[in-house]
């Protein structure tokens, strides 16, 4: 077995709502292996967003350990963690989350700016990847001048800009119509298959889940099932 890219060991996340303790995650153990395509599913309030934030090292657990490429993130400074996250993990959000004042090209270049990639390399790479998502002719457009599907493709290009090992997508098709959503999922699958990227998708849409190989089902802050063959599971339901 290869070493997992992201490893969660007995992760708890507790929020304090006034004086009431709310356990969003209760002892999660999860290995994300290189090259896998994992879907995290669960009803709203199940803790899947919290889990996603923890897996994407955007948030730190109340208890437990998170290993990113074998490094315990608790030992890293805020800045080092940002650097490591920017290099290793790409994010795709439901609302696209492009920076509104920057062009498509500049949005895709931004993660590389934070990694201090030289300018010429940044431009070349951003153009290459925008072309790969079929936006080669719209690189100077502002996000407001692009359709929802185009914006999400810019976001995908941005997520893959630093050539990360893992891309985390939070309801990537949630704001798109079904045919556009399908196209987005095909692009993601393409990156997974051709480049061997690890993809983690959070969704409540079984159709999306059907693209993946692994299905993690979470309920009340606990993983209730972890199947290596998602399609089979979905079929059985």
């Amino acid at each position: 077995m290869p070493e997992p890219i992201i490893k969660l060991e007995d992760v708890w996340k507790t929020y304090l709502l006034g004086k009431v303790e709310l356990h969003a995650l209760k002892g999660i153990n999860l290995d994300i292996n290189p090259g896998s395509f994992v879907t995290i599913m669960g009803p709203s309030g199940s803790g899947k967003s919290t889990l996603l934030n923890i897996v994407g090292v955007l948030d730190s657990p109340t208890k437990g350990r998170i290993l990113l490429e074998g490094i315990d993130i608790a030992t890293l400074s805020e800045d080092d963690l940002s650097q490591l996250r920017g290099k290793t993990i790409g994010f795709i959000f439901q609302e696209f989350n492009l920076l509104p004042n920057l062009s498509a090209l500049e949005n895709v270049m931004l993660p590389m700016v934070f990694q201090e990639t030289p300018l010429e390399k940044r431009i070349a790479r951003a153009k290459e990847i925008l072309t790969a998502v079929d936006l080669g002719n719209r690189i100077y457009h502002q996000p407001t001048e692009l359709s929802g599907g185009e914006r999400q493709r810019v976001a995908i290009a941005r997520a893959f800009a630093n050539d990360p090992k893992v891309v985390i997508a939070d309801e990537p098709t949630g704001n798109l119509d079904s045919s556009t959503g399908k196209k987005i999922m095909e692009i993601l699958t393409e990156f997974h298959r051709r480049k061997g990227k690890t993809i983690i998708v959070v969704t409540h849409d079984p159709n999306i889940a059907s693209y993946s190989q692994e299905l993690v089902y979470i309920k009340d802050g606990q993983i209730v099932s972890n199947h290596k063959q998602a399609e089979k599971v979905l079929w059985q339901r």
Binding site: K87, N97, P100
Partner: protein, 413 residues
């Protein structure tokens, strides 16, 4: 690392610039405080610098080491000039008899209406003991005649400043023209070359005894005395001696030892002018600082609003790998650019006002100003306003940089 670091700063500046371009009018209004502050600094400092330069130039033109004696107390200049006090004949003799004194020039001055043809204009009359003065004026102060000759002592003759020739009256004043002052006819015998300042070029110069004839001022007195000391003498020592002699004379005459006269050297005169201007400049700076502080608080305020509005953007940037310092720099640049914009506006307006006043001084006699808008002053204004902007943006930018990515992303969800 080094070149990449600079490259990154450039990139952050670029992002900050893009953010600003799409900002609302509200944000741009906040630059106004900075505009006003920098405007005050640039216009007033350039004018006071200009005045300082003019005074220094005139003092230097006096050449050599001179001692000035004036009635009244120099530490209270307004009272001194308003009092109309005079130096009496005994005072002047006391000065003349002081050891080390070579020449004593007595002078008086006042504004009077000068009639020429059908016109009457107020002109500054400056009277000097002509016999003693002429050599010093020519050799040490660079006076020269454009045409005509110097007046002869005791005759009703005057010379005129260069600008009186053509500018003051509708009809040009020429050598041998006759003007009337207080009912007495005087002949113009010479026209001076420019003396370098408006005030000097619009005055009329005449012998002190003739001046006292027509104005009724007591013969042998003077409003001011200029003393040229003997070659190689100690200016300060002679000044002290003059002071002592004057004190003795006054005591003998009026029985008091109140020191109602001032003896100062040309060097000290420069110091006094310099220190008065320094106080004025300090006051200007204090007022302008208040305007800039208010402007800075405005920037802080708008930046806090901006951080709040763009919390999610900050979260996104952090999620895709922005270090705290990157977010800090972007917001600092935004605040700095706002400050700089205010600085540019203030500098342009300030330069404009200073130059306008200078221009007004050139067409209006008795109102001489030069504005000294130096590149240094402009660079200072711009750098200063950029730094004020950055400083004002420091707290909001720090708040932005310390936001936790997950909290920033969750906001507005």
């Amino acid at each position: 690392m080094g070149s990449n670091f600079m490259d990154n700063l450039k990139e952050y500046f670029h992002i900050a610039w893009r953010n600003l371009k799409t900002r609302s009018l509200r944000s741009w209004l906040t630059i106004f405080g900075i505009v006003i502050g920098v405007f005050l600094i640039i216009s007033l400092l350039s004018l006071s610098e200009g005045i300082k330069a003019t005074i220094t130039k005139q003092l230097r033109a006096l050449g050599g080491e001179m001692v000035f004696v004036m009635p009244g107390d120099i530490s209270n200049p307004i009272a001194m000039f308003m009092s109309g006090a005079k130096l009496e004949r005994e005072d002047i003799d006391a000065i003349k008899n002081t050891k080390g004194v070579e020449t004593v020039l007595t002078m008086s001055y006042q504004a009077a209406v000068v009639r020429y043809g059908d016109e009457g204009k107020a002109v500054f009359l400056q009277a000097m003991s002509w016999k003693e003065s002429i050599e010093i004026l020519e050799n040490f102060q660079g006076w020269s005649l454009k045409e005509g000759r110097w007046p002869v002592s005791g005759k009703r003759e005057i010379i005129i400043g260069k600008q009186i020739e053509n500018d003051l009256f509708d009809k040009p004043v020429r050598v041998n023209s006759e003007v009337t002052i207080k009912g007495r006819k005087l002949t113009v015998v010479g026209i001076l070359n420019s003396l370098g300042s408006k005030q000097d070029d619009t005055a009329i110069y005449l012998d002190l005894s003739i001046y006292q004839d027509i104005t009724g001022e007591k013969k042998g007195t003077a409003q001011m005395v200029m003393v040229k000391i003997k070659e190689g003498g100690d200016v300060n020592g002679v000044a002290e001696d003059i002071k002592e002699n004057l004190q003795k004379t006054r005591k003998r005459r009026s029985g008091t030892d109140a020191e109602d006269f001032s003896v100062i050297t040309s060097e000290k005169m420069g110091d006094i002018a310099g220190s008065i201007l320094a106080v004025i400049q300090l006051a200007i700076f204090a007022f302008a600082s208040i305007a800039i502080i208010v402007g800075g608080i405005g920037i802080t305020n708008t930046m806090f609003t901006s951080v709040r509005e763009r919390t999610k953007e900050i979260g996104i940037m952090k999620a895709i790998g922005a270090k705290n310092s990157a977010v800090l720099m972007i917001f600092l640049f935004e605040a700095g650019i706002i400050g700089l914009a205010g600085g540019i506006g203030g500098t342009v307006l300030g330069t404009f006002l200073a130059k306008a006043i200078e221009l007004y001084g050139q067409v209006h006699p008795l109102f001489y100003f030069s504005a000294s808008v130096t590149p240094n002053l402009i660079i200072f204004g711009l750098v200063f306003s950029f730094l004020v902007g950055c400083l004002s943006g420091l707290l909001p930018a720090r708040r932005a940089s310390r936001l936790k990515p997950v909290e920033a992303l969750r906001r507005y969800e």
